[in-house]
């Protein structure tokens, strides 16, 4: 790997050419082998800054991957707003179960059904009640964000990475986007319906999320993040219409990216992004990240001046169970279709065999120098 890796990554994110197409990610990119070498279990690396940082660094150390990224799960921000989390402490050593939300601020668990209601009545009651609670709920900014929940763990992990690896390797971090984050703290189905019926009620919370994510991400940046990624997969065209994306999600992303000007930023959306890729380009993010469902060659043709990151599938076949040749083929495909940085469509699935990580790195060395 050339020793100007970090510079290349940051240059590419800023829309300049590097001496090679970088091979990195802005999302979770740890391998099970990497954390087991360190003597860690998957479920203990989410709440301990040292373990989080060492895990994040291991992919660079083992394979020469060109970034180190924290955190790994999608609950950090929701938890800091008061949602309940589960860490699967009893999971087997080799098992990968991501921490998840157990309780949202508004969901079925916050509704008490009146005694004696029939099943049908209860169902309608719960829906209406969740809708009412969402409409009235006041999300509250934690008094001291930097010391709330696991946010200090993430900030400390960023500082460690910056200190120990920051000259050579780009250090990155991420949060979810305003809409997806809102779905982590309030019942997602009711939110989706309200987004169509009562968009103003939803938008009020989205504006709060913009304020909050701006603060959280700026804390990441203060701690040393070289670039930040915002993952708005809840607004994918696999779930909501491009029309809804445009009217409700886009303005809030524009506001958020408008405030994050100190470092390069990436907007990531997975699932179907073909119908909204041009809207994604209007958010003000420095670069766009998409997954394997995006027809990257068409996207490239539509958006010649946008920095595109993608789009190999980092789980299942062939990345996690195929041959090195098959891995080379999907990496080459992203390159051939015009990716400015080769990067996974989601978190790298930790059970990927080391040979396939090596095959990916080798494929990039072979095909990714900037002669093409």
């Amino acid at each position: 790997m050339p020793n100007n890796s970090r510079e290349t990554v940051l240059n590419v994110l800023r829309g300049q050419k590097g001496d090679h197409v970088p091979n990195f990610s802005g999302m979770g990119s740890i391998t099970l082998g990497g954390i087991q070498d360190l003597g860690y279990r998957f479920n203990e690396i989410h709440g301990d800054a040292r373990k989080m940082a060492n895990s994040a660094a291991s992919t660079h150390r083992l394979f020469g991957f060109e970034s180190a990224i924290v955190p790994f799960d999608m609950g950090v921000v929701a938890e800091s707003l008061g949602a309940g989390m589960k860490y699967y402490d009893k999971a087997d050593l080799g098992q990968i179960i991501y921490p998840t939300m157990t309780r949202k601020l508004v969901d079925r668990s916050t509704v008490t059904v009146p005694d004696g209601a029939s099943e049908a009545d209860a169902k309608t009651f719960v829906m209406k009640e969740i809708e009412r609670q969402i409409t009235e709920y006041e999300l509250k900014m934690p008094a001291d964000i930097a010391s709330t929940g696991r946010i200090p763990v993430v900030l400390e992990a960023i500082r460690i990475l910056k200190r120990e690896l920051g000259d050579e390797v780009a250090v990155g971090s991420w949060t979810l986007g305003p809409f997806t984050e809102l779905g982590q703290v309030m019942d997602l189905e009711v939110l989706l319906k309200m987004s169509a019926k009562k968009p103003e009620a939803v938008n009020r919370h989205l504006k709060f999320m913009v304020e909050y994510l701006d603060k959280v991400l700026n804390l990441h940046i203060d701690s040393g993040a070289d670039f930040v990624t915002v993952r708005e997969m809840g607004a994918t065209s696999s779930i909501m219409s491009p029309r809804m994306f445009k009217s409700l999600v886009l303005p809030n992303l524009q506001e958020l990216f408008g405030r994050l000007k100190r470092v390069p930023t990436v907007l990531h959306i997975c699932g179907d992004t073909n119908p909204i890729i041009e809207l994604m380009a209007q958010t003000g993010a420095s670069a766009l990240s998409v997954d394997q469902m995006n027809r990257l060659n068409e996207t490239r043709a539509k958006l010649s001046n946008v920095v595109l990151l993608g789009n190999y599938k980092p789980f299942g076949a062939p990345f996690c169970d195929g041959t090195p040749e098959e891995v080379e083929a999907i990496i080459k495909q992203s390159l051939d279709q015009g990716a400015d940085g080769v990067w996974p469509g989601c978190d790298i699935w930790p059970q990927v065999p080391p040979e396939n990580m090596q095959a990916m790195i080798a494929a990039m060395k072979k095909h990714g120098s900037n002669s093409h």
Partner: protein, 244 residues
């Protein structure tokens, strides 16, 4: 007062369009009129509400509707179903009597797809026991034994959580070799379903809602078999759902 065929057609049309256009008020009004005119409640559900949902499925598969629209259509449908269902006269030739245990497997919190599938079963008249998401594997087996359900449906959206499915399949088969088991979610395909010994699956997102509808078509055909196997368990002689 028997309804004229024009009145019937008009009400069915309004039930159907009310669902398609997710207008709960229209559906509720039409459902109440159907009862006033003493229309056959089963016909109103099947040729009105369910017919509307069939169209919604097509719109979803073709990308005209997205998840929020489908969820709103479902609300409209449930609005009508709650009114009509208690008045369905049990007709053993037509009823699909059956019950389903459904959930997203342990470690997996993706439940949007699962909920759409669940809804389809409810439309078709099934009793649905929804275990929710991140469901401990043994809960599928326990609920199945407890409810004596006809079908177990498991959903998984991740390549790693889906490996819980064969574990459940094996445990269930140990208790009842003839249990009917369906699995689905983005990483599941025909081959996997076959390999694990599941009886069926629905295709990848986003076309899968249509698959779920087809699936229900198959299940409707299975209705005869259900009838042979069981008496009026869930549905009492008056056509009213019996508490378990």
């Amino acid at each position: 007062m028997a309804p004229t065929s024009e009145q019937q057609a008009d009400i069915l049309e309004r039930l159907k369009n009310g669902v398609i256009e997710y207008d709960e008020e229209v559906v509720v009004k039409a459902a109440n009129e159907a009862l006033e005119l003493q229309m056959d409640a089963y016909q109103a559900v099947m040729d009105g509400l369910a017919a509307g949902m069939d169209v919604v499925g097509v719109y979803f598969a073709s990308g005209e509707y997205f998840v929020p629209e489908v969820l709103m259509c479902a609300d409209a449908l449930y609005g009508g179903l709650h009114i009509l269902r208690p008045h369905i006269k049990l007709d053993p030739d037509k009823m699909v009597k059956g019950s389903v245990v459904i959930g997203t497997v342990e470690g997996d919190i993706h439940d949007i797809g699962k909920n759409l599938v669940k809804m389809m079963f409810e439309v078709a008249g099934f009793t649905v026991h929804d275990l929710g998401r991140d469901v401990p594997l043994d809960n599928f087996v326990d609920k199945y034994m407890e409810t004596d359900a006809d079908i177990i449906c498991m959903s998984a959206m991740m390549t790693t959580t889906m490996i819980g499915m064969p574990v459940v399949i094996e445990k269930v088969r140990a208790k009842n070799p003839h249990a009917r088991i369906m699995i689905g979610g983005a990483p599941i395909n025909e081959d996997i379903a076959q390999k694990w010994g599941a009886d069926g699956t629905g295709k990848d997102a986003p076309n899968a809602l249509q698959e779920a509808l087809n699936m229900i078509g198959v299940l409707r055909d299975l209705g005869d078999q259900f009838k042979a196997e069981r008496t009026q368990k869930e549905w009492g002689a008056d056509g009213i759902l019996q508490p378990a």
